[in-house]
Amino acid sequence: MTAITLIEGVTMALARAMEEDPSVVVLGEDVGVNGGVFRATAGLHERFGDDRVIDTPLAEVMIAGMSVGMSTQGIKPVAEAQFCGFTTPMLDHIMNHAARLRNRTRGRMSSPMVLRFPTGGGIHAPEHHSESPEALFAHTPGLRVVMPSSPSRAYGLLLAAIRDPDPVVFMEPKRIYRWVKEEVEDNGEELPMDVCYTLRDGDDITLVSWGAMIKETLQAADQLEAQGLGVEVIDVATISPLDMDTIIESVERTGRCVIIQEAPRHCSVASEIAAGLADAGIWHLQAPVKRVCGYDVTMPLYRNEMKYMPSVQRIVDAAQQVLEVS
C-alpha cells in the first residue's frame, strides 16, 4: 500500500475495474497512448490494449451516443469528457437516453455507463475548462452524480460507479487531483453512492461542501475551530441521490449551516440542500442558511478565477454571520 493522489485513485480504480470485468472499456479523446490530458488513464492502454482503451474521433455527441449504444449490448463504457465544458454536447444523449433507457423500456434495456470528467477551476486553464456543471446532471432524473474529494473516495466511488447497473456521472475535482496523498489499498472495495461523508464532527455549525471546495471548507473549519468552535464538515460526495438525512441530522445538533460550492448559486445543488433544510430541517435552524458559491457569472479566465471561487475568507465570513445570530 502506497500513498496516492486523487487522480491516482481514479487510475487505480479504472485498472481494477478493467481487470475484474472484461466488458469494461475506457474511451475518449486522448485516453489511449497519451494516457489522458491529466494522466488519469496513464498506463491503461499499454496494459489493456486498443480494444479496451479507445481513442475516439473528436466528437462528444458521438462519444456519449455510442456509449449509450455500447452499454445496452454488454459493454460497460467508461467515457471521459476531456473537460467539464465539453460535456454540454453530451447532455442530449446523457439526459434523453442514458438516464431514461431503463424506464423507457420498463427494464428491458438499461444504460450502465460512466461518464467521468475533470471539473472545477483553479488550474489556470482556458475558457470552458473550469466549470462545475453538477446541478445540470443532478436535476436530471435517472442519473447518479458523484464527486469525490479524496484519493480513497475517488477509488471507492469510481469502483462503485463502474459496477453500478445504471448510468453514473463521475466528476473529478481537478484542482485537488494532486492535493494530498493518502494510503489507499487496492482491495476492490467500493464505497456507497448514496451517503454523505462526515469529515469532521462538531456541534456549533455545519459546513456542507463537495469536490475541490472541501479544501477551503476544511481550512475555514480550521480557522473557526481555532476560535474554539465545533465545526461539522460534511462532504456530500454523492450529489444524486442526495443524502439529506445526514445533513439534517447534523443541523439538528448545530442549528446552523453554510453550504459551499464552486458552481454558480442559482438553481444549484447548494440551493437544493438549503431547500431541504427549509422544509424538513426548518425546526432545527437557528440562523439563515447561507450559500457561499461561485457568483452567477461566467467563470472568469484565469487571472480572476480565484476571485470567483469561494475563498476561505468568504466561508469564514458566512459562518461567522450565521454564528452571530442568537
Binding site: G65, G69, M70, R102, G107, M109, D194, P241
Partner: protein
C-alpha cells in the same frame, strides 16, 4: 498543379418498376425469383397497411395518442426487417413497424407505445433492439455503439439504423457515419427519404444531388435505392448487411420513397403540400407494383388477396383488443414511473413513490 486525389460516385438501384414489371429481366437479382420470400413479405406489407389504417382510426376516435403512419414505406421497412438476423440490432426511428413486425414486435405493442404506455417499449422483438426513438437521429449513434460492442466482442452481428431525410441533416447521423468509418463498424445506416420532414421538403435539407452521398464524407460505400421497390430494397439490404457482417465496414443507403400520409395524426399535410404531388406519389407506391409482379408471375391472385385482407383485419382487430384490454383493465399503477428508473430504487425516490401512491389512493387527479 492540380491533381485529382479521390473520386466517388453514387449508384441508384431499381429492379421493379412502378407498373410492376422488371426494369430488365436479365439483370434482375436472384431475389426477384424467390417468390416464397416475396409473397411472405408482401403479406407483411399488407398487414402493416391494414394495421396502419386502423391505428389512424383509433387516434381519430380518441383511443390512441399521436400516431406516425408508415403508409407508403412498407417495402423499404419490410426489407430492412427481412435482411436482418435476429441477433442483429435494429435502432429504428418511429415508423418502421413492418421491420419490427418481421422481428417479432407485436402490433398491440406498437399501439401500447403510441397509446402512452411505456410497456409498448418492452416489446416481443429482440430484446437487444432499441425502442422507438423520438430525438431525431440519436438512434444512429446508438446503433454505432451497438456495432462497436459487437466488434469489441468479436460477434458476427450487424447494427442497423434508420433516419429520415430530415434527420440526415443532424450531427448525430453525420457523426455516426464518421464513427462507422473510423472503426470500420458492422453498421448499416439507412436514410429513409420520404421527401418530407413534417412540412419541410427534401429540397430544404440541402441542395446536394443525393442524400446518400453523405456517406462519402467518411469514405463509406453509399447508394440510392428505389424504396418502393421491394426487390431492390432486399437486394441492397441483403448485400450491405452481409458485407458489414463479414468485416467490410459500414454502409449508407438512401431509400427513396414517399410519405403518403400526414406526418403524424397531429399533422395536416394539406397545409403545406399539393394534393397532386400526393396523387402522383400514389402511382409509385410499393404494394400495388409488387402485387402486379406477383400476379404476373402466377403466385398471387384475387382470392389470395381477399383472404389475406380478411386475415389481416382479423389480426389487427385482435391486436386492438389486446391493446385496449391492457390499458383499460390492466393500466400501469402510478408506482410504475418510479420502479424502472434504477435497478434499485434510491432512498429519495422511495419517499416520493410513497407520496405518489398515497395521492393515487386518495384519487388525486388534476
Amino acid at each position: 498543379m492540380t491533381q485529382t486525389v479521390a473520386r466517388f460516385k453514387v449508384d441508384y438501384y431499381q429492379f421493379l418498376k412502378p407498373d410492376g414489371t422488371l426494369v430488365d429481366d436479365r439483370q434482375a437479382p436472384q431475389v426477384a425469383r424467390d417468390f416464397d420470400r416475396l409473397v411472405e413479405l408482401y403479406e407483411l406489407m399488407s398487414l402493416t397497411r391494414v394495421f396502419d389504417a386502423k391505428a389512424v382510426a383509433l387516434q381519430r376516435t380518441g383511443q390512441l395518442g399521436t400516431y406516425a403512419s408508415s403508409l407508403g414505406h412498407e417495402a423499404a421497412h419490410v426489407a430492412i426487417g427481412a435482411a436482418m438476423k435476429h441477433e442483429d440490432c435494429l435502432a429504428p426511428m418511429y415508423r418502421e413497424y413492418a421491420a419490427q413486425f418481421y422481428r417479432g414486435v407485436k402490433m398491440s405493442e406498437v399501439l401500447l407505445y403510441w397509446g402512452g404506455d411505456e410497456r409498448g417499449n418492452n416489446f416481443s422483438g429482440p430484446e437487444h433492439d432499441f425502442a422507438w426513438c423520438v430525438p431525431i437521429a440519436t438512434q444512429c449513434l446508438h446503433a454505432a455503439g451497438a456495432a462497436m460492442a459487437y466488434k469489441l466482442k468479436s460477434e458476427d452481428r450487424v447494427a442497423v439504423s434508420v433516419v429520415g431525410d430530415g434527420g440526415s441533416s443532424k450531427g448525430d447521423f453525420l457523426e455516426a457515419i464518421n464513427a462507422g468509418s473510423a472503426w470500420k463498424l458492422p453498421l448499416v445506416l439507412i436514410i429513409m427519404n420520404n421527401q418530407w420532414a413534417i412540412s419541410v421538403p427534401r429540397s430544404k435539407q440541402n441542395t446536394a444531388a443525393t442524400l446518400a452521398q453523405k456517406g462519402i464524407a467518411a469514405g463509406l460505400p453509399s447508394m440510392q435505392v428505389d424504396g418502393n421497390d421491394l426487390i431492390a430494397c432486399l437486394w441492397v439490404m441483403d448485400n450491405a448487411i452481409e458485407a458489414a457482417r463479414s468485416g467490410r465496414g459500414s454502409f449508407v443507403i438512401e431509400m427513396i420513397t414517399y410519405r403518403l400520409s400526414d406526418h403524424t395524426t397531429a399533422d395536416d399535410a394539406r397545409r403545406y403540400r399539393p394534393d397532386e404531388e400526393v396523387e402522383e406519389a400514389w402511382e409509385r407506391e410499393p404494394l400495388k407494383r409488387l402485387r402486379t409482379y406477383l400476379v404476373n408471375n402466377g403466385v398471387w391472385d384475387e382470392d389470395k388477396e381477399e383472404a389475406l385482407l380478411a386475415e389481416c383485419r382479423e389480426a389487427v382487430d385482435a391486436a386492438v383488443e389486446d391493446y385496449l384490454d391492457m390499458v383499460e383493465n390492466n393500466p400501469q399503477p402510478v408506482t410504475a414511473m418510479f420502479d424502472h428508473m434504477f435497478a434499485e430504487l434510491p432512498h429519495d425516490l422511495i419517499e416520493q413513490r410513497r407520496e405518489a401512491q398515497r395521492h393515487e389512493q386518495e384519487g388525486g387527479q388534476l
